[in-house]
């Protein structure tokens, strides 16, 4: 309940959220970094940086670059590892903050092991598996790019945890709805979309990619209309909840994702520009509902009036 009298709570795949605003994996560190700027209890919760079995050091620099209304990143797998996260990062998070842990790996059984270790840990409200990682055994294509590989990944993660399981989809696919259906079919409790869009930026003075890694992921406002389309397409295809991600920087943006069919949203790149933005988005969403006569934010989910075909 916000002070405005609007019921802002939503249920995301079995995770009860104070309000629909989460922050996105890889853009919010392990949560405590934002404490100078934002009381995390103002937002629905956060998704922590994706974790691998072992700590990883990531790619050489440059890892980031700017693009029109967007940024590119190739951070790769840098993270403290799942055990260190549970041991030192999780206890540092203030009580009352909803934490979703994110898993990523390069092979299916390793994903499952990360999920197993995160499963049942009291402070973790749910898991998100990041299916945008290159799968070593499929020759480097992303798990989320092949329905059969994705199905095996989700099934294996499903067996590894009994808690709420979200699958974060890659946007680099022909049919996002098909990928969403695969997740639903294999027992995921919800899907998160989209991850960054695969992209390339080139420095014409060096005639090399600007990122040391070559390719990178495009995020920020530029991808929002693509994300919104994919959320809408997924929402037409599945009945498990959707967490909408991509270029969200204002309450209005977040409302668009709810209208398109998302139950909750994740704020990513915008956190870098304004570290308290997720709190402002939460407040602004409640204000929108109130101004438009909605008693519950949840009533906006999927309320888009799409023209008849």
């Amino acid at each position: 309940m916000s002070s405005a009298g609007v019921d802002t709570t939503v249920d995301l795949a079995g995770i009860p959220l104070r309000n629909p605003v989460l922050t996105a994996s890889g853009t919010f560190g392990y949560g405590t970094e934002f404490s100078p700027f934002l009381d995390l209890r103002r937002i629905g919760g956060f998704v922590a940086k994706s974790l691998t079995l072992e700590p990883r050091i990531g790619n050489p620099p440059p890892r980031i670059a700017e693009a029109p209304s967007a940024m590119l990143n190739a951070i790769s797998l840098e993270n403290v590892g799942v055990d260190e996260f549970i041991r030192t990062k999780l206890p540092a998070i203030p009580d009352g903050v909803t934490v979703i842990a994110s898993a990523f790996e390069t092979e299916i059984d390793r994903y499952a092991e990360v999920c197993a270790r995160l499963s049942g840990v009291p402070r973790i409200a749910g898991l998100e598996i990041n299916a945008s990682c290159p799968h070593v055994k499929s020759g480097g294509i992303e798990f989320g790019q092949d329905p059969a590989v994705l199905a095996r990944l989700v099934a294996s993660a499903r067996r590894a945890t009994t808690g709420p399981l979200l699958v974060k989809l890659s946007p680099n696919v022909t049919h996002i709805a098909e990928m969403a259906r695969v997740c639903e079919g294999e027992g995921a409790d919800g899907v998160s979309l989209i991850n960054a869009v695969q992209a390339l930026e080139i420095d014409t003075s060096t005639r090399r990619p600007v990122l040391a890694n070559g390719l990178g992921g495009l995020s920020g406002p530029a991808i929002r209309p693509i994300a919104l389309r994919m959320v809408w397409q997924a929402a037409q295809a599945i009945s498990i909840p959707i967490c909408g991600i991509g270029g969200i920087g204002s309450a209005e943006d977040a409302i668009k994702f709810l209208l398109a069919g998302a139950t909750a949203v994740q704020v990513g790149t915008a956190n870098y520009l304004h570290p308290a933005i997720a709190g402002e988005i939460s407040d602004g969403m409640a204000a929108y509902a109130e101004n438009h006569g909605y008693a519950r934010l949840a009533d906006l989910i999927g309320a888009l009036e799409f023209p008849a075909r």
């Binding site: 890889g26 853009t27 919010f28 560190g29 970094e33 934002f34 100078p36 700027f37 050091i57 990531g58 790619n59 050489p60 620099p61 440059p62 890892r63 980031i64 670059a65 700017e66 029109p68 209304s69 967007a70 940024m71 990143n73 951070i75 840098e78 040391a212 920020g220 406002p221 530029a222 920087g249 790149t269 956190n271 870098y272 520009l273 304004h274 570290p275 308290a276």
Partner: protein
């Protein structure tokens, strides 16, 4: 250390108090051309908690006008040049050069307009050891990063500032350094001001004296790399403040990674910007 006019703090003091960063909407007080190629921006920052030498802020010039823009998108890291306490906050000064789109947009921020600021960020320069002589070597926009260091260092350290630039017109803040009453030496590549040499040449000369010395450096990577080599050879500790590209400035995007000699990466925004120059894998920096 709190926001101050120009009162010196003893060097062992500045590292003590960490200033929890804030995000604020700052009014532009002034934003003028400094002659040469630099500009001086003064912002009125509510609740500014003060800063220590070496800390920086992230500025977003395009996000607050009546027509908010998402291009350019990322905030720009800028050293906090100095600050002046005022009721309810501080006036924060930034000295900058227009080198691209973000700084050009910053240059358009007029009095009456607003700029979003996040800071202070990063760690302070480590203070010198009690009896060390201090040499500060800076070039390019790095000159702005070392001004408060020069201002804070106790005269017992006999601080000397060595400033380098391609031409006289590329220098910044020379008058400010001189008005601190400390020794300032200048080298330009074309000889248009000071010695006709690279600033690292001045460093080599200065290190010929046998006194225990600590070097601080900030500037273009090749310059800092050369300083690090000279200091390593002279067995003098060297602290380098890196200027990697940044997206967040407070340790969450992992974008500002600097490769370390011992393997792995440090985050320039969180673990730096100042590092022991000997710990940096200079070849691996972009």
């Amino acid at each position: 250390m709190s926001t101050r006019m120009s009162s010196k703090v003893s060097s062992d003091q500045w590292d003590g108090a960490l200033h929890s960063p804030i995000r604020a909407v700052a009014d532009v007080v002034s934003n003028g051309d400094e002659g040469l190629s630099s500009r001086r921006l003064r912002l009125r920052v509510p609740d500014f908690p003060g800063f220590a030498p070496g800390q920086f802020a992230m500025l977003s010039p395009g996000s607050l006008p009546a027509a908010p823009r998402t291009d350019p998108l990322l905030p720009r890291p800028m050293a906090i040049y100095r600050s002046f306490e005022i009721a309810g906050g501080a006036e924060v000064e930034i000295l900058y050069k227009v080198t691209g789109r973000g700084t050009a947009l910053l240059a358009e921020a007029l009095p009456g307009q607003q700029v979003s600021i996040v800071g202070p960020l990063g760690r302070a320069f480590p203070p010198p050891e009690p009896r060390e002589r201090v040499l500060i070597v800076a070039g390019g926009t790095g000159i702005a990063s070392v001004f408060d260091l020069a201002a804070q260092i106790d005269s017992s350290h006999q601080p000397t500032v060595l400033l380098g630039a391609r031409t006289a017109g590329d220098l910044m803040a020379v008058d400010d350094f001189e008005s601190l009453g400390i020794e300032v030496q200048i080298a330009t590549d074309d000889g248009s001001r000071g010695t006709h040499a690279q600033v690292t040449g001045l460093l080599s000369e200065a290190l010929e004296s046998a006194a225990p010395t600590r070097v601080y450096t900030c500037g273009p990577t090749p310059m800092m790399h050369r300083c690090a080599q000279i200091c390593a050879q002279a067995q003098v500790p060297c602290v380098a403040a890196l200027e990697n590209h940044m997206a967040c400035g407070f340790g969450v995007c992992l974008g500002c990674a600097a490769p370390l000699v011992r393997g792995g990466y440090a985050l320039v925004c969180r673990d730096g910007p100042a590092f022991d120059a000997a710990s940096i894998d200079w070849e691996g920096l972009p």
